[in-house]
């Protein structure tokens, strides 16, 4: 659980940086058009959304590791 919270904190930090560097950035989520601060709020409020983000973050991390291993001599 702690690891998940740390991960979400990292994602929120990325989104905060995004707000500064690209203020027009949006996440289209079905019919919703969310700004970075709105995505941050959704990470706190919407459990399913939070779980999806965590699941795919770990999935991506594993894929990246596998790709790195394949590149090793």
């Amino acid at each position: 659980m702690n690891q998940e919270n740390e991960l979400i904190a990292e994602i929120k930090e990325t989104l905060t940086r995004l707000t500064a560097s690209n203020p027009t950035w949006r996440l289209m989520l079905g019919p919703e058009s969310l700004t970075a601060p709105e995505v941050i709020a959704k990470l706190d409020k919407d459990r399913k959304f939070r779980e999806v983000i965590i699941k795919h973050y770990f999935g991506l991390a594993i894929q990246i590791e596998q790709r790195a291993r394949e590149k090793l001599p």
Partner: protein, 213 residues
Amino acid sequence: MKGILIRPRFDDPTKYTFDFAAEILAWCRQAGISVVELAETEAIRSRVEEELAKEGVDLFIHYDHGNEDALIGQDKNAVIDADNCQLLKGKEVYTLACLSAKNLGARVWRIGGKYWGYVDVVSFTTDALPEFRRAFNSGFLFRFVEGDTPQNALSRAKSVFDQLSLELVDDGKTMAALAMRYDGDILVYYNGHKPTTKKKLGPFCLLWRRLRR
């Protein structure tokens, strides 16, 4: 081959998906697919039913909003739902709509149609629009322009989502990468494979599973 392309535009997501669908329209014309475009005010139920009732329509393309049981038109009402989905009997559906593969897609499959769609909410970010357009449209390219089989088209499209999500990580676009990976995960193609139905578990089974953890 003859097709119908429906593309409403009435909010932020449809503003982008309207543009994504332009590429599909161009490919249809290049590939010799005769396509009737029902855009914006034309993307309503009566016009869709009118075109589907005509002879020889093989392909039904819909970009964008949907729910588990319906594809949505310009007036925010269903253009296709359980009441008129028999019009899709024997046809191939290619849609970017959220959730629609879940029930509507399975229904179309049961009446002999094929259904390319998503079983959950589709997402994309504005910092990677060309990548999302490429991923969302890739299945159409493989299946209808290159003429690949349903199974191969699905497998190749899922690889595109995977590959692009890794490239987006390299570009530092983490949220785009997560959305891309998720979209690839929820993509289905009935008849590339059968719909999977999750068996509903009773309260005792659920309790047993919880206790076993």
